[in-house]
């Protein structure tokens, strides 16, 4: 019997893999519901990426429609969205802030210098503590807050021209119009 069992091993491994893949299908990595939508943004106070002696906090984002983009240099999808983000920043439609997530300060500064800096300012979150408060699963993620600092939208995965045109811009227009 044991002689036969040996040849079942590949099949059993495959069954395990299928189970995993099936589970994976229901877990769309892009759609993670955020319990934070409709709630005030979590408070934070971190050093600025470009200047370790200056701080940036959630109050900097309040009083206007703002965007917080979570990114890191180790994340290939962030690289993919970066140029789109730079283009979008040029339009000046929204105040874009960055949360540099679990990253190295020098690497991140170099990245911005080379690829362009779409952010008004970046919060430096090397150990990802603030990321946890914000419910960040993985970079890139983008949050949009209204004038009162309430999170209105969360986009997971890279921003594309299409996402900006169909989701982000209409939302900004709506938030700008409301009091």
């Amino acid at each position: 019997m044991a002689r036969y069992l040996r040849y079942l091993v590949p099949l059993l491994l495959f069954v395990l893999l299928v189970g995993l893949l099936y589970r994976g299908l229901s877990l769309d990595p892009k759609i993670v519901p955020s319990p934070l939508i409709g709630k005030p943004m979590p408070a934070f106070s971190l050093t600025r990426l470009d200047d370790a002696s200056a701080t940036i906090s959630d109050t900097d984002l309040r009083g206007k429609v703002s965007m917080l983009n979570v990114w890191a240099t180790w994340c290939t999808s962030c690289r993919a969205e970066h140029e789109t983000l730079v283009e979008f920043a040029r339009t000046g439609k929204i105040a874009i802030y960055g949360l540099n997530y679990k990253d190295d300060r020098a690497d991140a500064q170099r990245w911005l210098m080379q690829l362009g800096n779409p952010y008004i300012a970046n919060a430096f979150d090397p150990d990802g503590r603030t990321g946890i408060d914000w419910g960040v699963y993985g970079a890139p993620e983008t949050f949009i807050m209204d004038k009162h600092g309430i999170i209105r939208h969360k986009h997971i995965g890279p921003l594309t021209g299409q996402v900006i045109a169909t989701e982000i811009l209409p939302l900004i227009a709506k938030l700008e119009a409301s009091e």
């Binding site: 040849y7 590949p10 099949l11 994976g24 769309d28 999808s77 362009g116």
Partner: protein, 668 residues
């Protein structure tokens, strides 16, 4: 009208694939010659209709028929003709159609090029390929019909993803698919052999050239993909360990193991079960790659068409094909007789060792690729596995593999005296260690042993190949025979092995040197300003606007000189594609065998100043040169005379094989 014709052709092709899957197989099992004889004509019919459907889609792109939804999404009247054609496989539906078409190409190739195969075996093989074809054609027709119409008809198409508008990427997917789908031939031969219960040297001999050709295509595809990433992503990198890249690399590793294992099975009748399993594995990994890329289970910069419904379809298909074949394996493998015996030190053990290393690396890559999914499914949070994981794994396993690769060709089948092996390799060992130290010592104070190790491994590989050549052509008679008839049987595979293994040596040098010695600088430059780096002077002459057919671009001009002499003029671009409004970087590269100068244009900083990234990349060409050599080696092996002449012997007699001396033996 023409798109409907294409749609209809696809339906007919599906019907024919059903016939192909059922009748020849049933005929071979019930011994009904009439059903067996159906295999070839039906395979040709299936090919004809799929080719017709493919031609219809190409036509729709060339004639800018935006009433077809797929063309409207990915085509554009401004696209250059070459990219109109490559746009056919620029997104999900079309690339699946290409996949199905290539599968049909392989099917008719098997049907028409295997003259010495018994009709029943051929019928079975074609039948299995027909079954795979059913899966892909129904996937196309039921979930991703490329001929779907759209109304109202858009005036202009949405344009091809600018990332894909590059000559390298225009031919990269077809090459890769030729490789992926080509693995289905080895798979089908294995399934046919398992069903028939006849796993012997003849089976391995039939399977070998097909597997090697598919592997050559896969090698070319991967090399092209890497070259494209380097040119197009503006990042100076040539490999990213992205899930999609891993999806192509895993079948390659499994196929590499397979072609070596097939050699053992053919020559010695050993490792039969292992070879069958590898045949199943290589194609399964190709299918798994498709699933990962197409289902959206993993996020990647490459996955442009993620849809869970499609994912479920592929998963079910995977279960049937892979699950079914592994179940067949579990049922049939215990009855397979063991092949020739061999001792602890023999070419068999060395090849087995390399096989295991290749599979372990594959497993590590699979684990690294799936880790985000595993974490997610287990509720451990989300992670992303990056370079360190994969690089560490390679640094650990590659040296062992290269050592075995050097020993393999000089070791006899069945048994080799350890003392004798030591004698043979004494000099090679000394030379390689000395060369490694020579390179390592001056650099050692930087605590970087890697270049030394790379040189040592490469010299080891090269010197062992020289030893092997010397042994093979020790006497004049053998040398004269070679010059008189260089195309004699056995020579193709032998020199193929030499070239491919040299390719590995070249590749190792390239990878190590470029990672260890590349220099890069992020700079802000004003027009007229010069910057020195790695002995070269880069002068920035400003940026001007240029117009492409479907984009406008800022092109910088940089003049590179060395010791006052001009070396190159580079024109890195930042392109803005008009329709998709996506900015793209096009690096300015001056390529040479020993070094690349690479400049990518960053952001305009106002006042004519620009941020630029300058790279000096030594030996980077060696990476692709190595890939090319590996592919050429595979091609030589596949074209060996012995696969073309009619082979009458049914099984290699182990006793006779073992008496052959090393000099007459052709390696894989």
């Amino acid at each position: 009208m023409i798109p409907e014709l294409g749609h209809f052709s696809l339906i007919l092709a599906l019907c024919l694939s059903l016939v192909l899957a059922i009748f020849p197989m049933a005929g071979s099992l019930t011994n009904t010659p009439r059903w067996i004889a159906m295999a070839k004509p039906v395979a040709w019919g299936q090919f004809t209709f799929t080719a017709l459907a493919f031609a219809c889609l190409v036509n729709a792109f060339l004639s800018n028929d935006f009433s077809v939804a797929y063309v409207a999404q990915n085509g554009n009247s401004l696209l250059p003709t070459m990219y109109k054609i490559s746009a056919v496989w620029g997104a999900h539906e079309g690339s699946l159609l290409l996949w199905a078409f290539i599968l049909c190409c392989w099917t008719v190739a098997v049907a028409s090029l295997t003259r010495n195969l018994p009709a029943a075996v051929l019928a079975r093989v074609l039948s299995v390929m027909g079954m795979i074809s059913i899966g892909f054609l129904s996937f196309l027709l039921f979930t991703s019909n490329p001929f779907e119409r759209v109304f109202p008809v858009p005036l202009e198409g949405g344009d091809l993803n600018p990332l894909l508008q590059d000559p390298g990427l225009a031919i990269h997917p077809p090459m890769l698919y030729m490789g992926y789908v080509g693995m289905s031939v080895a798979f089908s031969f294995a399934i046919a052999a398992l069903i028939g219960g006849k796993l012997d040297a003849t089976w391995a001999r039939w399977s070998r050239p097909w597997t090697t050709v598919a592997w050559v295509f896969l090698t070319i595809g991967i090399t092209l993909g890497s070259w494209w990433a380097y040119n197009e992503l503006g990042w100076g990198g040539w490999w990213f360990w992205d899930p999609v890249e891993n999806a192509s690399f895993m079948p390659w590793l499994a196929a590499t193991a397979l072609i070596h294992s097939l050699a053992v099975t053919e020559k010695r009748g050993a490792f039969k079960r292992w070879t069958v399993l590898l045949s199943l594995l290589a194609f399964s990994l190709s299918l798994l790659g498709t699933f990962l890329v197409r289902s959206g289970v993993l996020t990647s910069v490459h996955s442009f068409a993620a849809d869970p419904a499609r994912g479920l379809f592929i998963l079910i298909f995977l279960c049937i094909v892979i699950g079914g074949s592994l179940a067949l394996y579990a049922w049939r493998a215990p009855d397979v007789t063991s092949g020739g015996r061999f001792s602890m030190l023999s070419r068999e053990t060395l090849l087995l060792g390399n096989n295991l290393l290749l599979i372990v690396i594959t497993a590590f890559i699979l684990l690294g690729t799936l880790a985000p999914l595993i974490y997610d499914a287990m509720g451990w949070g989300k992670i992303s596995v990056g370079f360190p994981w994969f690089t560490t794994m390679f640094v650990i396993f590659t040296p062992f593999m290269v050592v075995l690769m050097g020993l393999g060709p000089l070791t006899r089948w069945k048994h080799h005296e350890p003392a004798e092996l030591m004698r043979t390799f004494r000099v090679a060992m000394l030379v390689s260690v000395a060369a490694g130290l020579l390179v390592a010592l001056p650099i050692l104070h930087d605590f970087s042993p890697w270049p030394g190790l790379a040189v040592m491994l490469s010299v080891w590989l090269v010197s062992s190949l020289v030893l092997s050549l010397r042994q093979r052509y020790r006497n004049r008679a053998s040398l004269r025979a070679l010059l008189k008839n260089p195309w004699a049987r056995g020579n193709g595979s032998y020199f193929g092995m030499i070239i491919a293994h040299l390719g590995i040596a070249v590749f190792i040098i390239g990878v190590t040197f470029v990672t260890q010695f590349d220099v890069d600088k992020d700079v802000r430059m004003s027009p007229g300003q010069s910057i020195d780096m790695a002995g070269y002077t880069f002068r920035f002459d400003g940026v001007h606007t240029v117009q492409g057919p479907n984009y406008s671009a800022d092109r910088g001009s940089i003049v590179v000189s060395r010791d006052g002499k001009e070396v190159a003029q580079l024109g890195p671009e930042k392109r803005n594609y008009l329709v998709q409004r996506k900015p793209m970087t096009e690096a300015g590269i001056d390529a040479a065998l020993m070094r690349d100068l690479y400049v990518s244009l960053g952001e305009g900083l106002g006042g004519g100043d620009w941020s630029l990234r300058l790279y000096y990349k030594p030996f980077i060409r060696w990476i692709w040169l190595g890939g090319l050599m590996i592919a050429i080696g595979g091609l030589c092996a596949a074209l060996d005379r012995r696969y073309r002449i009619h082979v009458r012997e049914h099984a290699v007699q182990p006793a006779r094989a073992s008496r052959k001396t090393l000099a007459h033996e052709a390696h894989s």
